[in-house]
Every structure is written in structure tokens, then in C-alpha cells.
Amino acid sequence: MNNDNKKWYSLNLKKSPKVDSCGCGNDSGSCSGEKTKDGYDQVMNVSMGRRAAFKKITAGFLIGAGAVSSSCSVVSGDENKEKSGIEWEEYFKGNYKLMTDKEKEETVNRLTRSYELRTGEKINMTSKDAEKDVLFGYAFNISKCQGYMDCVNACVEENNQDRATEMQYIRIHEMEDGKGFNFEESDDNYYHEVPAEGHFYMGTQCFHCDNPPCVEVCPVQATWKEKDGIVVIDYDWCVGCRYCMAACPYDGRRFNWKTPEVPEQEVNKKQHYLGNRLRKKGVMEKCTFCIQRSREGQNPACVEACPTGARTFGNLLDPKSNIRWILENKKVFRLKEDLGTEPKFWYYMD
């Protein structure tokens, strides 16, 4: 937030020197750490240039039609001008996955400023990239889960999920003993004293597959796997076709069928661009392993909230991590392994 913010309603999108950074999960491509530009980068730069041109052309049309009058008008206040300037820049920004560090910072600043203009409150949004040598994994102890749903509560609050439609990333399935993992007969919306006699509990959420079918099908690459294994969504790039939702075998994805509502005093102000920032209607969202927390070294909200220690989160590449010990010493399994999705979410029993 410096004198740069004047640029918001100038239509110039100056090409900044490409800094080697890319949030993609591609280890062999531009993320290799080397500063060599491969085809990926070049395509990217070109597309940015073209997009700027596209933007200018559209601007020309719209100014002709008077549609951007508010951003150019002398009458409306400075704040309104700034607001529509931000909206304008936001509408034409590129895919986060392909942004340079500077562009990431700019969009974060715009979003922060836009929130301030709307509500008068400050949020703290970051665009922190994946740490080196980190691959996140999750383990769930089905012997320990008691079905209290504290995790669900914590998740909703942490991730600013829509209160009106009661969107929840986590589902806790109440299963009957002796029937195996029979999801058809399980109940994921129980309301009685828990743990119920003769039942056990199993939580599902986005499994952050290593071979995610949802990423494959997205027509605009609005969802991708980050280097640290988190499958993320660029909410501003998603066009809302819901193909990923159809492709997910784990019911991990949620759609904003209407504008999400979060009461102002309940908004979690510590946000990440790819994580819990406020969404709009018509876009997908899902669990991000609380990217705003996990990238800092903190546990996701569900892990922190769990009173029974049924949830373990950690770095799969750290041989001394708890998750690694579980994978090496417990009888772990994953759901629907036959689909070849390679979830990074394991279950185990005591």
C-alpha cells in the first residue's frame, strides 16, 4: 500500500520482470529452483501480455458504452473511484498459479484494500508460497474419534465458510460396528449423545490426492496441486463449471450456490489468498489443510480443535515427524485406493 495504489485505475498492466516463483506442484518444470525459463514461463509471459491487450480492448468498448463511468466520473467520490478501479483490476487479473511474486502481492493488496473500503476493517492476507522440502500429510485415528464434531466447528470458523447454507468441509460419519466401512448405512448428520453405543466415527474431507482427478478436469487450471501437496483453488479464476466436483470421488469439494454469508465479527481476518479469504458466489471451495496456518508451521484448525488426538498432521518428508511414524508403524489405509488417486490422508486404528 504505497503510492502504487494510484495505478489501480490506470489501465496499464506493466510487465514486471519475472521472478522465479510459481506455486504449481510441478517439480520438474519452472519450479525446479533454477532460473532458466522453460516453455511454461514463456507461455505465461505471452499470455499476460495478451491479457493486457484484451483488457484494453474491453476497456475501450466499455468506456464507449459508459459502463465504467463510475471509475472515470469526476462526480463520484475518491473511494468509489478506487473501489471500481480495484474491481476492474481484479476482474482482469490472471491465474494466481501463473502470477509473479509482484503480481501476487498486488492482488493481495487490492483485496485487502477492497475489504477495508467495504467494511472499514483490516484483514491480514498473505500469499506465502510453499516451503521447501515439505509435503503435507494427514492421519486419522478411527479408534480415537468420538464424534464430538469440534473439528467441524473449528473448520467453519477458521475458514470463513458460508453460515447460511451451513457449508462444511469435514464430514464425520457414524458407522455401526461390525458392518465395516459401510458409508451407505452410516449417518453423517447425527444428533445424539456421542460416542453412541456400538458405533465408531470416521471423518472425511478433501484428501489432497497426489494424483487429483479434480485438477485434471478443470478447464481453466483454476485448481492445482501446490509443491507442498496441498490442492488449492484460485477462487477468482474458477468459472464455476463444477466439473471438479463431479470428478472428486471423496465429496471433498463444495460449491457456493449463493453469495456466502459470514457475520462481520466472525470473519477470520488472518487469511491466505489460496485459503480462507472470503469467497463469492459461483465458485468452488474446499479444505486447504488451513493453508494460512499450515504454511506457517501451525496445525490446521481441525487438528488443533480435536480433543481426542484422533487427528495428526505433518510433513511427510520429515523422517522424524509424527505422521511418518504412523505411516511406518501403524496399519494404515486410505479410502478408495483402487481409484489410483493417491490420497495423502491415511486412516489407522490403535
Binding site: 464434531m149 451451513e166 496445525n299 487438528v303 515427524s321
Partner: protein, 209 residues
């Protein structure tokens, strides 16, 4: 002529398929387990830390059997420690003066194993109340009460050391700080209690009507 056209179209179609075959071989690994194995790094090279999230927790070190991590310090959390501040005399001398007079710690009901197996004195020392004691009467510091629990709960102890039982505090990143037994389980009543789930989703009900 028709044949020529057919052949040409076929070539175009096949060509299109060949070109569009996926060229990104991002996944060089057959499974994620292979990937983990191949990319594992030695712990010293990991830079990220969760120290900031653990700052406010007073800790002591656990180091046994090759495992090393932090556990919350306990003694400062006990409201009226040292015990000897009240218990100046051994228990025998604290006999009730009158019948029906309330005993100290009257609200504690032991619900841990059976009466034949455990009573107060199984863990608390008669003579030195500032410490606990093991089955063989060696002293155990309140900070290291897990030693007491692990006498019976060996399987849980093993899982806890490794990280499969219990709960990590603060962050996932090193240094590891894990709850010790009594942080989650009340030693006098170790089982988790039944209670109502914290929420119920009314929208799901509507959706499935």
C-alpha cells in the same frame, strides 16, 4: 478422391491425438509412498519451525528410547502445588476429627481400573506428597507422570512416543511438543465422557428430504 480424403482426415485425427497425449510427466513416482521415500530429507535441513506457537507453554523434555520431544510442564499448572504446603504431616496423622466431616479432595472419585487394582496410594506417595511413585516405590516427578501411566499402558505409551497416540500442540513443524497423558486424560477418571456433538446441520436434512 474419396479415399484420399478419408486417409487425409484420418491422419489429421490421429495426429491430433498423438500431439495431445499428455507430455507433462510431473509424477515420476508410481505411488505417493515412493515419492515420500525418494524425497525424504534429513531433519537438520528443515527450516520451518513452530516455535512461535509454543512460546507461551512451559515445557520439559522427554528423551527415552531414542525419542526426543517436549511435553508441557505440569507442576506449575497444579493449583496448590507444592502439596506439602498443606500436607505438612503424613496422611495417617490427617485422620478425620469427627465422623461425617468432609475429607480433603472429597470431590475426587476414582474411576480408573477397579477398586481392587487401584486406589489413591497406587500413585500418590504416603510420605512425600510432592512426588508420585511407581509400582516399585521409586519416586516419579509430577512433570514426568507418563512414567507412571506407562507402567500399565505400554501400548499407548509406545504409540504416544511415536506420535500415533495423543496430540501435538502448536504446530506440526519441529520442535515437537506433545501433550502428555494427563493433559488429555484426567488420571482419576481417564475415559472420555459422552456428550452431544457441537453442531447439527439443518441444511443437510433439508437437502435429503
Amino acid at each position: 478422391m474419396i479415399q484420399k480424403i478419408v486417409v487425409k482426415t484420418l491422419i489429421i485425427v490421429i495426429g491430433l491425438f498423438v500431439i495431445s497425449c499428455k507430455h507433462s510427466h510431473e509424477n515420476n513416482y508410481h505411488t505417493v509412498t515412493d515419492k515420500i521415500e525418494a524425497k525424504t530429507v534429513s531433519p537438520e535441513n528443515l527450516t520451518i519451525t513452530s516455535k512461535t506457537f509454543n512460546e507461551n507453554i512451559k515445557t520439559v523434555k522427554f528423551a527415552e528410547d531414542g525419542y526426543e520431544f517436549l511435553i508441557p510442564e505440569r507442576k506449575s499448572q497444579i493449583t496448590s502445588y507444592n502439596c506439602t504446603e498443606c500436607h505438612t504431616q503424613p496422611i495417617e496423622k490427617l485422620k478425620q476429627n469427627q465422623v461425617g466431616e468432609k475429607a480433603a479432595h472429597w470431590n475426587i472419585k476414582l474411576a480408573h481400573a477397579g477398586v481392587e487394582i487401584m486406589n489413591c496410594a497406587t500413585c500418590h506417595s504416603n510420605g512425600n506428597m510432592d512426588n508420585l511413585h511407581s509400582l516399585t516405590n521409586s519416586e516419579i516427578d509430577f512433570n514426568y507422570s507418563y512414567k507412571l501411566c506407562s507402567q500399565c499402558h505400554q501400548k499407548e505409551f509406545k504409540d504416544w512416543k511415536g506420535g500415533a497416540h495423543g496430540k501435538q500442540l502448536g504446530g506440526w513443524a519441529p520442535p515437537r511438543l506433545s501433550n502428555t497423558c494427563v493433559n488429555c486424560h484426567n488420571p482419576h477418571k481417564p475415559a472420555f465422557e459422552k456428550r452431544w456433538p457441537v453442531r447439527f446441520n439443518t441444511q443437510k436434512v433439508k437437502e435429503r428430504q
